[in-house]
Symmetry: C2
Subunit: 362 residues, 2 copies
């Protein structure tokens, strides 16, 4: 991509407009940003001249260099963009961010963490993007871009992950929500549980969630959810080591289906499955039905997120206010008036649907 000059004609600047009208370039600048400083007539005259010359307003880069801010914010994903666009939960958050940006006339730059991690040879910044601040969305705590974002010395807000000192945080009570889900199933009489966990660490492992891995969970949201589940079960006298768990490689229906196969094929297969996302749960439901079992007569299942597909699948789940997460993040980023550490914990709601029922007799 070449610069404007590729077209031959030199870029039209403030100066050109000023010359045309016969005023100083300051006055033209004022016409755009301080309307009160000149007569309406002159302002009109300037705009007319600009129009005629093909001047499209102050150059964003120059403006930013002079003012120190760009009017754009960066939304930083941990996953690659293609994945992000396929996940309804991510989209809902992004939706909220977009809404708020729209209102504030702020531009939105999408930045995938993946891309920033490539150039290991050169200490690159996070994207070439000129942004006034970053929203870190569910970024792995050990990711290099966390450090990079902090070094950049612009306002930051974290959504979901990771918890950072002196950085505002938007999230939910993952632990409490998970606790309630497990509790609900316990009250229905279930005693044999299985857990479908999202990735616990930034590696390529998937399979049985071993005790060792349980103890070293890098992703705090996952750790909290697991803790919530296990705490409820433990309170009911069910020891964590007696609760089989499967760690999936990626948040998708297929992975959920695979995890469910593991759980159902064990001795003493669970009558209740706790899944850390709706996509995983929906995949698991397919496996359950394919095995000739009924939901909820034979197996109850609980999801997490309440994506649109959950209602269609009659899946019980934890409703997260995804969109509000995004909106709060923008608000926090925009209103950062000091170093105060404002956190926002949003409410979740337990949505009971047809996927859960009393534990089967016997």
């Amino acid at each position: 991509m070449k610069t404007t000059r590729q077209y031959g004609r030199r870029k039209v600047t403030l100066k050109d407009v000023a010359a045309q009208v016969g005023v100083s370039h300051t006055t033209v600048s004022n016409a755009y940003i301080r309307p009160g400083q000149l007569s309406a007539a002159l302002r009109e005259k300037i705009f007319a001249a600009a129009q005629e010359l093909g001047y499209t307003g102050p150059d964003p880069a120059a403006k930013q260099l002079a003012t120190g801010h760009s009017g754009a914010l960066g939304f930083l994903f941990s996953e690659d963009l293609p994945y992000a666009f396929s996940d309804p939960a991510v989209l809902a958050v992004l939706n909220g961010v977009a809404k708020s940006c729209d209102e504030m006339e702020t531009d939105l730059a999408l930045i995938s963490a993946g891309s920033s991690l490539r150039n290991m040879n050169t200490p690159v910044s996070l994207g070439n993007a000129a942004v006034d601040g970053y929203i870190l969305y569910s970024v792995a705590p050990d990711s290099r871009c966390v450090l990079m974002a902090q070094q950049r010395n612009v306002p930051l807000v974290v959504v979901d992950q990771p918890r950072l000192d002196n950085v505002p945080y938007v999230g939910i009570d993952d632990r409490g929500a998970a606790y309630n889900a497990a509790k609900t199933l316990l009250e229905l009489g279930h005693r044999r549980f299985g857990i479908l966990s999202l990735k616990t660490a930034h590696d390529d492992y998937f399979g049985i969630l071993t005790a060792k891995r349980r103890a070293n969970i890098a992703h705090s949201t996952i750790a909290m959810r697991l803790e919530g589940y296990l705490t409820a079960l433990q309170e009911a006298g069910i020891a964590p080591e007696n609760v089989p768990a499967w760690e999936i490689p990626i948040n998708s229906e297929e992975s959920g289906a695979e995890g469910a196969r593991f759980l159902l094929n064990r001795q003493n297969a669970p009558t209740a499955i706790l899944a850390m996302s709706d996509r995983v749960a929906i995949g698991a439901m397919q496996t359950i039905r394919a095995a000739g079992l009924s939901i909820p007569e034979d197996v109850s299942i609980f999801g997490f997120d309440d994506i649109p597909a959950a209602a269609l699948s009659d899946l019980s789940t934890i409703r997260q206010p995804h969109e509000r997460k995004g909106m709060e993040a923008v608000r926090l980023l925009t209103q950062q008036d000091g170093r105060q550490n404002k956190n926002v914990i949003l409410e979740t709601e337990l949505v009971a649907r047809g996927s859960i029922g009393p534990a089967p007799k016997g």
Copy 2:
């Protein structure tokens, strides 16, 4: 959002690093962009100093001002962002764009046309974003931002809409695809058709797609699809005026359901419905079934797009290579080496599923 300086410490610049190491300004700059110009040892020394001082690389704004380009591109939606994120077809395109951007290490700025249309008092540019080029995605031809984008004097690429002189274009053969859909239903013996059309103009109208509106369709993709349908029908001896059509207000399932109610409540209700999007078709299917009719025994229905939900609903449709649209757009934007007018028309595929069948007897 304040500038960096809010934190008290002055921003670290190239100069500071240069002073620290005891070299010039330029050498430090070279360390970042022209590694060949200095010894590896010196380069390391410079990076070390940068690290120590907290220098995070050249300031994007300053860099852009000096070089003339930003390494970012703008993706311009006609709809507001929140809508865009709810439309699977839009997302798929965005996905393709994101993929390509990722590869090229280009940043992606999302810009909704809506926001640019607000400040009518000041001639604002498209977003504050400093971008090297724009992808215009399905923007209404009469939208102000088309003009604004052109004035900005940066490379442009249009996806789907509108066709612009001297601007590369990425799209499909809407007319041909629609023609094939109608043809397929004709071959199944259908004679009574109904059309569910997307918005034809940029106003608040919805309801019967009148002859007058049919003749004044602002959105070229819609015009082409309608023409494709009607041409096929006309060739089979069915006059356009005998084909009822409903124009929906917004591309959603609800609107489709409403449109289908109109079509089914008429005298001589259609046995075949041509919908211009899958979302609309899926909404219509609900109405059809709610009316006690079977698909495809009583009514056949054809969608457009092949979004994931189409397969789940067993909906026949036209598969568009959404993702490739996005990738091609980035390619065209990036490779613009002159003023040549490269257009890309991607292939579509007719996907026949269970939603179509022979016309009912009688």
